[in-house]
């Protein structure tokens, strides 16, 4: 009887173990991203459904958020213990979350992925500092110069490569109720981006010195602001309230001859019903004393934000799966003509180039990718990152400096001097 009892106990124990193994609960991951438009949410859902089906032991669910609120919402969620496990980011947002110890370094994962897919260095650089890599690049966005071939041809102007050519082209295109160029002058992120894309083309890319002090007030910056303010005069008068959408609409309606924008393909194709062959895109022109064009680029990435080791391992499986060329192209084409690859093999993936919009605007997308290789971002150009960049970015000091010129009538030199003082004041806090 004793033997039978022992046998039954052992059998029960073995059965429990086996059952536990066979029906182990999957690792649940929550992904916060800021790709809220319905078609992007739908594409993410398709990808996650596919991943979850192929990996029954890992289940990833998405919770779309807004860029407008996530800066306040994510820290609150982490403080309350209900933050996500994976979180989309841009460089300055990473500094905010790193500051509250919510981000886990991904050095090994990035090293493996780099060896396998080859990250474009410009997309990785903003996340490499303090001896670690803080996020896995996911897609890139870089500002380019957009124009219509037919409009330039009718005006007898070539695609501008230098500032003097650019100004001449904008002046020539400013006729009959049309504006040669549409540049924003709003105190808003879009203006930060367009002004900086001019700054990087005059050799004023760095706004910090190595010791963390502000390096904004210099002749190259003054030249950039002076030039930008001249172009802004050739833009519609309401540009003081513009964000990305207004500039894009101005171009799509054929009112603005040229604009600086991350991408216009979707709006041009669906709202302006434009001819693909007529849409032109080029690098942002450089100052006459420079030899190469550069631009501003936002490398969007994914942070690991869970301290749970099982979740970290599962998250790495998911990120590796996402960057596989067969999947990665479908991720990028959730917004075709805007999201650019961050890996060498992603830039060649059939899953990317087979998208019908990308196929239709192939030459433009190729130019956008090429431009993105020369992308930089203010505050992330020296290999050292200082926490005040978050506040400088959030308070739109670059755009505010421009407003002192175009609204208050200050000289570029005085406005840049004021910008230096503002940034230094913020950096001291």
């Amino acid at each position: 009887m004793m033997k039978l009892t022992r046998l039954l106990t052992l059998a029960g124990f073995a059965a429990t173990l086996l059952t536990g193994t066979a029906y182990a609960a999957p690792v649940d991951l929550t992904l916060w991203h800021m790709e809220q438009p319905p078609h992007r949410v739908q594409r993410m859902k398709e990808l996650l459904d596919e991943f979850n089906a192929a990996h029954p032991d890992i289940q990833v669910k998405q919770e779309p958020q807004s860029w407008g609120e996530v800066y306040a919402k994510a820290p609150a969620a982490f403080a309350a213990g209900n933050g996500p496990d994976l979180l989309f980011t841009i460089p300055d947002f990473t500094t905010v979350l790193k500051g509250i110890d919510a981000v886990v370094p991904v050095d090994d994962l990035v090293k493996d992925l780099d060896a396998k897919h080859g990250f474009i260095e410009a997309t990785l650089a903003p996340y490499k500092y303090d001896d670690h890599v803080w996020a896995v690049p996911a897609y890139n966005m870089a500002i380019s110069l957009w124009y219509r071939n037919s409009v330039l041809k009718a005006a007898g102007v070539e695609v501008p490569k230098t500032w003097s050519e650019w100004q001449a082209a904008a002046e020539k295109l400013s006729t009959d109720g049309k504006y040669g160029i549409g540049l924003p002058a709003n105190k808003q992120l879009y203006t930060d981006q367009t002004v900086y894309s001019v700054m990087v083309n005059s050799g004023a890319a760095d706004i910090y010195k190595d010791d963390g002090s502000i390096d904004f007030d210099k002749p190259a910056t003054v030249n950039a602001y002076d030039f930008y303010s001249k172009l802004a005069k050739l833009s519609p008068a309401d540009n003081g309230s513009w964000t990305w959408g207004e500039a894009e609409a101005c171009f799509a309606s054929n009112t603005c001859g040229m604009i600086l924008q991350f991408g216009v393909i979707n709006t041009y194709d669906t709202q302006a019903e434009g001819d693909a062959a007529d849409l032109g895109v080029a690098p942002v022109p450089h100052a006459d004393d420079q030899s190469e064009s550069a631009t501003i680029s936002y490398s969007n990435a994914i942070m690991l934000t869970t301290k749970d080791e099982a979740k970290q391992a599962a998250a790495k499986v998911f990120l590796a799966w996402l960057l596989e060329p067969a999947n990665y192209g479908r991720f990028l084409t959730m917004e075709p003509g805007l999201f650019l690859p961050v890996t060498d093999d992603g830039a060649k993936a059939d899953s990317f180039w087979n998208d019908k919009t990308v196929t239709k605007y192939k030459s433009q997308v190729e130019t956008m990718i090429s431009n993105s290789h020369a992308g930089k971002l203010f505050g992330f150009t020296t290999g050292k990152v200082f926490p005040s960049i978050g506040a400088i970015s959030a308070q739109n000091v670059i755009a505010e400096t421009l407003q002192h010129i175009v609204v208050d009538g200050q000289s570029a030199a005085d406005a840049v001097k004021g910008g230096q003082a503002r940034m230094s004041e913020i950096a001291k806090k």
């Binding site: 407008g68 990305w244 609409a249 309606s253 709202q271």
Partner: protein, 275 residues
């Protein structure tokens, strides 16, 4: 007094100008929602649509979660309105009629809560709601909406109560009616326009509330219109037709509410109450 032609012209001209200023944005939004994309993005907008399409509404209702956001907003706004009215009425009556120490000071103090910027309490409230498991719950939004709408609603309601002649209440007291009966059977019907005003105020406050809804709600399926709609529109690329169709659809419930309770505004406050 008979108006001169010049006075009448100035009066009606002024009224027309004000009406145009108020109506023009609505006209632009509503007519824009039925124009083709190419016409919408024209630099000089057309006052009378030159094209007609329902494609933006089709996209809004079929390709986005707008219907879900609409239902969520209706639920949150309706409950917020009901609780605000139910709490504001007895509180206003207490401040209006009952004698207790510090009544006037407290009456003035409660308005401070209305003047308090919501963003200041956003993070502490998030922590509080997280502790009691109310993050991502419409209950949290109802609690916040009621808390912020209540102070001003009490003030509004008390003002309406103050317009009712005291003799009406005295007559009820002589007949032996208790306080609850006086409030429910006598005063409530008399301040129906006041209740309607508070209800509209609470509904619109809740309907348009963005800050707390954007932070306290996490999942897409529980979003209200202002937050969900902001996400639909996107940042770098704007679908203007979708934006205008959404804005048009979002004002329909508010217009319907006005149509429903508007009659209370035209009825007299105390017509026939004192004979």
């Amino acid at each position: 007094m008979k108006r001169t032609f010049g006075q009448a012209l100035s009066l009606y001209g002024g009224l027309l100008l004000i009406a145009l200023l108020i109506c023009m944005p609505f006209w632009w939004v509503i007519t824009g929602s039925i124009k083709l994309p190419r016409e919408i993005i024209q630099r000089v907008p057309t006052m009378i649509p030159e094209s007609f399409t329902l494609q933006h509404f089709e996209k809004l209702l079929q390709a986005s979660d707008f219907p879900v956001y609409l239902i969520n907003s209706l639920i949150v706004a309706s409950f917020s309105t009901a609780f605000t009215v139910l709490l504001a009425l007895p509180a206003a009556y207490a401040f209006f009629r009952m004698e207790f120490p510090g009544r006037n000071a407290l009456y003035r103090t409660i308005l401070l809560a209305y003047a308090f910027p919501g963003v200041v309490v956003l993070i502490p409230l998030y922590g509080l709601f997280a502790k009691v498991g109310l993050i991502d719950s419409p209950v949290a939004l109802v609690v916040v909406n009621v808390a912020f709408a209540l102070p001003f609603s009490i003030w509004m309601m008390r003002s309406f109560l103050a317009t009712i002649p005291r003799e009406i209440e005295e007559a009820a007291v002589v007949d032996g009616a208790p306080t609850t009966t006086i409030l429910v059977r006598i005063l409530m019907p008399l301040i129906a326009p006041g209740i309607a005003s508070v209800a509209i105020f609470a509904f619109i406050s809740s309907w348009t509330e963005y800050l707390f809804a954007s932070v306290l709600i996490v999942s897409d399926a529980r979003r209200t219109i202002p937050v969900g709609f902001a996400g639909i529109i996107g940042q770098y690329q704007i679908d203007w037709g979708l934006l205008l169709a959404g804005a048009t659809a979002a004002i329909i419930p508010v217009v319907a509410l006005f149509a429903l309770v508007g009659r209370w505004f035209v009825s007299g406050l105390t017509d026939g109450a004192v004979k």
